[in-house]
Symmetry: C2
Subunit: 330 residues, 2 copies
């Protein structure tokens, strides 16, 4: 569990897209964000107050979150001086990049001396149990996709926001590094050892109030040969009561696999329902979430209408329309 | 890859069952087994020559394989002296037990001095790629089960033996610690990090001669909530051309999960075929392998006949009948 509030470190991000993790934190957890720290040459700007380490610390910042990636997705050598200084100023550091904070000897030593912590959120922070498949109290919703990287996290976060705005009990449960940085906790599921995947998801979504909903971040895809096992563990560990189907209508093949076509929404519905019923016979598909960013407003409207008629399910683009109709369907 | 031949270490196994790993090696790879080494009080006997370390080494033994488990499945403190002596005698050591050879400082130091190796076969020995899902040359057969521990390894080994006896090209591909110790190589799939499971299986079953069959050791079960993700990664990484359904007719619930009934063979067939077709549209279920050890000969015959009629598939108990009819069906 990361300590809040955060100072978001943008490094020398060459453009706004390179700071998309920081942008996600600011969009979904603005209350965690005190300010941003940018190095010389940084081209990203979140519209947060620019703060020095000293200013941020004085304002109460607990954790410096590495919210940008350079080419290669690693911690740049030019950043290390700032990370060490943040540690010396008394802040924890959190990163989801490929190389680890804990592999930087200078930083490890500085953190040891300062008594602060380094969080590599790609690395499981604890041992997880083997799943026992027992029913749990409370409700769970999981987004499953026709492909990876198709809007599953966005959908779950948008549903959580809408539910909290309505006064419902809801918690987004992060299963990937970006989600973990956004919410401050979760399970980096793709880094968990095979035998413990489903158990990690059970651990993440424990017994809860009967009216409480976990909005579980999806991973991979049942039809994606590289990552389908992760997805099935998520379904069997999560025991969802509700599934949301996620889709991107212009994508022509699976991400990274040009020789695999995307499955249809019907095929996804049938397979996901079939395997989810093994652990929760009452599970239902409650709606479709479509990422229409590549379409014009008119094309998007038509696309959503067509899918809604075809599937007989509420169909929205949560970015354009919000997630209200998905929440209604719960 | 373990170096052969082996000296099989039975420790002070309290009964024959405690030496079942060694028994498996002797049953399936007798040509690897020079002899057995038993400590005071050992109640197991494989019928192999009893050898001292010196005798085994003089006879050419390359690896001492820990082939027994005490209660708890750990390397017993009373065994360490023998393991250290084997190392000093110039042998590698291989173990599939829960605690690691590499965590025993005395043994690690002895192996360093002797220049020998310690193989904890539960621990992945290398980094695996992310699966790319591309078709590969050669043929692959995978056993899938209505539950865990239901005869999948036995079935694949029996098919391999039958195929080799017929002069066919066939290789058993181990995916668990017992299979790895039996054959000397493989992937400990349940210990692989989630993102790399399917890639590890692709790595294990690479391009091969068009007439060559990999007999892939199954793991877990698609209907077993604790381990289903491992099974799906095995199916999607293995791209099987042929599936064999494995079943145990007297089991009343999933192993370790009394609140889950076993699925029917029909349900297993439909789900396994559905997900396997994603990566190999030509996949077929070619037969059923039933573990009838709990039945009388007469009950077993009736059970196999009933399933054969019901499923319309060759149905055998490979332990009673051999795997000939399954191989015919390939």
């Amino acid at each position: 569990m990361l300590k809040t509030p955060y100072l978001l470190f943008l490094g020398d991000a060459p453009d706004q897209l390179a700071a998309k993790v920081a942008q996600g934190i600011k969009d979904w957890r603005p209350q965690f964000c005190l300010g941003q720290l940018r190095l010389e040459g940084c081209k990203a700007d979140l519209g947060l107050p620019d703060m020095s380490l000293e200013e941020a610390r004085a304002a109460g910042a607990q954790t410096l979150v590495v919210g940008a990636a350079n080419r290669g997705g690693i911690i740049a050598p030019s950043w290390i001086e700032t990370l060490v200084a943040a540690t010396r100023a008394g802040m924890d550091i959190a990163s989801g990049l490929h190389n680890r904070l804990s592999d930087l000897p200078e930083l490890v030593e500085a953190a040891r001396q300062a008594g602060t912590e380094l969080f590599d959120v790609r690395v499981p922070q604890q041992a997880y149990p083997i799943a026992d498949g027992k029913p749990r109290t409370g409700k769970r919703c999981l987004a499953v996709g026709t492909d990876c990287s198709i809007g599953k996290m966005y959908t779950a976060l948008a549903m959580e926001r809408e539910m909290l705005a309505r006064g419902m009990q809801a918690t987004f449960r992060a299963t990937g590094q970006t989600g973990i940085l956004i919410t401050g906790s979760g399970v980096p599921l793709d880094a968990v050892v095979a035998d413990f995947m489903a158990g990690a998801v059970e651990w993440l979504t424990p017994d809860n109030d009967p009216n409480h909903w976990d909005l579980i971040e999806g991973q991979g895809g049942l039809f994606h040969p590289s990552f389908s096992g992760v997805t099935l563990a998520l379904i069997h560990g999560g025991q969802p009561d509700a599934l949301v189907l996620c889709h991107e209508p212009t994508r022509t093949h699976l991400r990274g696999l040009p020789h695999y076509a995307l499955p249809s929404l019907e095929a996804l519905r049938d397979l996901a329902l079939g395997v989810a019923r093994i652990v929760n016979p009452a599970v239902e598909v409650i709606g479709v979430s479509v990422n229409t960013a590549a379409l014009s407003a008119e094309e998007a409207r038509k696309c959503l209408e067509d899918i809604e008629v075809r599937m007989g399910l509420p169909t929205v683009d949560p970015f354009r329309d919000g997630a209200g109709r998905l929440v209604d369907a719960l």
